[in-house]
C-alpha cells in the first residue's frame, strides 16, 4: 500500500547530522515529493516564507538555547503556517510534552526518541489520515470563514467518526470567534455533558466571559485547575480575569502555580511581569522578564515590548543605568520603526525619572516623529506612558483613547491600560477609560449606521470615513464606512473618489478578516454598481 507520505512536502528541522540523514532517508524512501532539511529555527523561518509544507518534523532540542517549542509558538501565533500543516515534535523526554496546552502552541503529536522507521511511518500515516479528513474544515478556518466552518462541522458531526471530538473543538472555537457566545456556551455544555474534558470546560469559561458572566467563568476555571492541573490555558485565562477585576495578587499567585507545572509561554511570562509590576513587585518582574529574555535570546518569540517591560521594572527600582542598558541591547535586535518608537518612549521615561528633562524631551520628540494614526496598541501605550512621565496627561489620555477605539476587543486591554496608568490606574480608572472610549466609538458607529439607514449618506460617509482613517484596525468602523460608501454610490452613482475610498476600506477589512460577513454586503452593493 502506498504510504500517505507519498507526494507530501516535508520540512525537517534537526540540528544533529545523523538524525537528519536518517530521517531524510526514511521520508524520501516512502516517496515524499519534497524534503527540505534545515538545522536551525532561522533557516526554518526562511523556508516557510517561500514554501508551503504539509508536514513539519521538528526536534525539540535545537542547540544554542533554542527549541522547537519556541518555533511552534512563533509560527502558530502569527499564523505563518496553515492549520493543514502537520507539526510533529520529536523529544527525548516526555516532560516536554507538558510544556503548554494552549491550542495554538500544541503540536499535532509528539514522538519520543528513540523510534524505529516503522514507528515513525505508522504515526505519520495516522496524522495524515486525520489531516485529510479535516482538510476542508482547516482550510475554512485559515480563511476565517467561521459560518462555513460551523456548517462543515455540523455536517461532519452527523458522521460520528473517530474525529468527532476534534470537530467539536473546532466548532466551539468557530462559534466563539464569530461572536456567538450563547451558542458557544450551549455547544460546550453539550460536550462537557458527554465528557468533562479540559478544553471543553475552558471553552465554556470563555463563552461565559463573552456573555459577561465573569464569576461563572472564574468558578469553572478554578474547578479545572483542581481537576486537571495540566490545562495551562485555565491558569492564563483565570489570571487575566482576576487581573481585570483588580485582583492582582490573586492573579499572580495563579500564574506562579502554573509556573510550577510548566515554565510557560512567553505570553504567560509577560502577563506575570505586568501583574508583578502592577502590584508593586518590581523585583519579581525584573527576575521573570530578564530570565525570559535570556532563555529566549536566540528565539523569534522575543518582542521589543519584553525589553520595554524589563526596563520599566528596573526604572521602578531606580536602576536607571541598567534600564538604559536594556534599551541599548534591544536596539541591536529591533530596528523597525515601531520598535524605535517603543524604545525612544522607554528612554524618555528612564531619563525623566532620573531628572534629566532635556534628554527625556528629546527622546519623546524622536518617539513622536512619525504619524500616530493606527499604530499598534502596545506601541501607543509606550508613547502614552512617556507622555504621562513628562506631565502631558491630556495628550496621553487622548492617545490611550484612540488606541482603545482602534482595537476595542484586545483581551489584555485592561491590564495594558492599568500598566500605563501605574499607581493612578488603581480602582476603576482604567475600566472607566476603557468603557467611555468604547462607548464613544459605539455611539459614533451607531450614528453613522443610523444616518446611512435614513439615506443621509453624505453625513454617514463623512462621519464613518473620518473614524475609519483614524482607527484603521477597528473593523466594525472600517466595514461600515465601506458599506455606506457602496450604498451611497448605488443610490447616487459612481464617483471615483468614493469608489477608491470604498475599495480601500473594503480591502483593508478583507485583509484583516477575510471571513467578515460585512464583506458580502459590501460586495453585493459593489456588484450592483457594475450593472
Amino acid at each position: 500500500m502506498l504510504s500517505r507520505l507519498y507526494g507530501k512536502r516535508i520540512l525537517l528541522i534537526e540540528d544533529q547530522e545523523m538524525m537528519r540523514n536518517q530521517l531524510r532517508l526514511s521520508m524520501t524512501s516512502v516517496g515524499c515529493k519534497r524534503l527540505l532539511a534545515v538545522t536551525s529555527i532561522q533557516l526554518a523561518l526562511e523556508a516557510i516564507e517561500t514554501e508551503t509544507f504539509d508536514l513539519i518534523l521538528c526536534d525539540y532540542n535545537l542547540g544554542e538555547n533554542t527549541n522547537g517549542q519556541q518555533f511552534l509558538e512563533f509560527v502558530r501565533s502569527r499564523e505563518l503556517i496553515s492549520r493543514n500543516t502537520l507539526f510533529i515534535m520529536i523529544t527525548a523526554e516526555q516532560s516536554y510534552q507538558k510544556v503548554m496546552l494552549v491550542a495554538e502552541c500544541t503540536p499535532d503529536d509528539y514522538l519520543l526518541k528513540p523510534f524505529t522507521p516503522a514507528q515513525l511511518n505508522v504515526r505519520v500515516d495516522r496524522l495524515i489520515e486525520r489531516q485529510e479528513a479535516l482538510e476542508g474544515l482547516n482550510r475554512a478556518c485559515d480563511q476565517r470563514r467561521w459560518d462555513l466552518v460551523i456548517a462543515k462541522c455540523d455536517k461532519l458531526l452527523t458522521e460520528r467518526n473517530k474525529y468527532v471530538f476534534d470537530v467539536h473543538k473546532i466548532k466551539g472555537e468557530a462559534l466563539l470567534k464569530s461572536g456567538r457566545a450563547a451558542d458557544a456556551r450551549q455547544h460546550y455544555e453539550t460536550v462537557v455533558l458527554q465528557r468533562p474534558l479540559g478544553w471543553a470546560k475552558v471553552g465554556l469559561a470563555r463563552a461565559l466571559e463573552a456573555e459577561g458572566d465573569v464569576d461563572g467563568a472564574c468558578k469553572i476555571l478554578r474547578e479545572i485547575i483542581v481537576e486537571s492541573p495540566m490545562v495551562m490555558q485555565a491558569y492564563d485565562l483565570l489570571a487575566r480575569l482576576l487581573a481585570n477585576s483588580n485582583k492582582h495578587a490573586e492573579a499572580m499567585a495563579i500564574l506562579h502555580k502554573a509556573g510550577e507545572i510548566s515554565p510557560g509561554t512567553m505570553s504567560r511570562l509577560r502577563s506575570l511581569t505586568t501583574l508583578a509590576m502592577g502590584s508593586g513587585h518590581n523585583d519579581i518582574a525584573e527576575q521573570v522578564m530578564s530570565n525570559a529574555i535570556l532563555v529566549n535570546q536566540y528565539s523569534p518569540v522575543r518582542d521589543v515590548g519584553d525589553y520595554a517591560l524589563l526596563s520599566k521594572a528596573l526604572v521602578n527600582q531606580k536602576k536607571g543605568d541598567a534600564a538604559l542598558d536594556v534599551v541599548k541591547q534591544a536596539r541591536k535586535g529591533f530596528t523597525d520603526s515601531d520598535s524605535n518608537v517603543v524604545l525612544d518612549a522607554t528612554e524618555c521615561v528612564i531619563y525623566q525619572r532620573a531628572g534629566d528633562n532635556e534628554k527625556a524631551t528629546a527622546a519623546l520628540t524622536r518617539a513622536m516623529v512619525s504619524d500616530m494614526t493606527g499604530i499598534p496598541l502596545d506601541v501607543a501605550m509606550s508613547v502614552a506612558e512617556a507622555l504621562l512621565a513628562v506631565g502631558r496627561e491630556n495628550d496621553a489620555l487622548s492617545l490611550i483613547k484612540q488606541a482603545i477605539q482602534n482595537t476595542p476587543n484586545d483581551h489584555n486591554l485592561m491590564q495594558k491600560v492599568q500598566a500605563v496608568l501605574g499607581t493612578d490606574g488603581k480602582g476603576d480608572r482604567a475600566a472607566d477609560i476603557i468603557a467611555s472610549s468604547r462607548r464613544e466609538i459605539i455611539q459614533l458607529n451607531n450614528e453613522g449606521v443610523r444616518k446611512a439607514d435614513a439615506g443621509q449618506f453624505d453625513e454617514a460617509v463623512t462621519l464613518l470615513s473620518a473614524a475609519a482613517d483614524r482607527l484603521p484596525n477597528n473593523l466594525q468602523i472600517v466595514g461600515n464606512a465601506a458599506l455606506a460608501l457602496a450604498q451611497f454610490m448605488v443610490r447616487d452613482g459612481v464617483d471615483s473618489e468614493r469608489l477608491n475610498n470604498c475599495l480601500r476600506y473594503r480591502n483593508s477589512l478583507a485583509e484583516q478578516s477575510s471571513g467578515d460577513p460585512k464583506l458580502r454586503q459590501i460586495d453585493v452593493n459593489l456588484q450592483r454598481l457594475k450593472r
Binding site: 545523523m18 516532560s95 519520543l112 524505529t116
Partner: protein, 216 residues
Amino acid sequence: MNDHGGIMGSDFPLLSSAILHEVKNHLTELQWRLAARSDASAEQALVANCAQRLTDLLLAQRDVSGLLLADIDAHCPADLLQELATGYAGLFPTLTVDVQLDNAPVTAFYDAFLVRLALGNALHNACHHARKQVQLSVHSSNEGTVFQMTDDGPGFPSDFLAQGAAAPSNPGQTGTGLGLYLAGRIAALHRLGEHTGRVELANAKAGGGIFRLIVP
C-alpha cells in the same frame, strides 16, 4: 564550593537533561542502523528496552515530584493498538502480534502519551515472555475502556499476581516491577466521578499472562 557541590547543585537538572538527550540520540542512531539490517531484531528489542527503562526512570522522577499529571482527551484506541503492534512486530519478528478490534470503541478518553508508555512497557514484557503470539484488544465495559494484552508464555508468577501494581519492593530488580507500578500510577491518574483507572493482572486458563489497563 568544591566540584561535587557544583555539579550536584542547580546545574544538575540541566546536566541530566543534556546527558539524557545525548543518550537518546545515540540510541536512536543505533536503532536506525539496526533497522537497516535484516538480522538484528533482537538487538533492536534490546535498544528499545534500554530506552524504555530510561523513560520509566524519568516518569518515576516526575511521580516523586508530584508532577506526573494526565492530560486527558478523546482518542481512537484502535489506532493506538495498531501503532504499538506495528512497532513491536518489527522488534519480535518470530512472534505474531495480533490486534483484535471487533469490539473496539470509536473513541476513548485518556492521556495518549502516558497510556502509550504504559501499554508499550506491558507489550514489551508480553513479547519477551510469549512463545508464539501476543494478542492486543480493546473494548468497553461498565468500568470504561479496557485495553487488554494476552500472551502465550508461562504466565505471571503467583507472588507477582498477589502484589499487582503496588510499588516495586525491590527497585534494583530487573524485570517489570517499576514498569508495572508506573502503569498502575498512570491508570490511577484517569478519573471520572467516582471511578478511577486501574491495572489488572491475571493468568489465562490455558496458560499465558493477561494484562489489562482500564480507564474510566
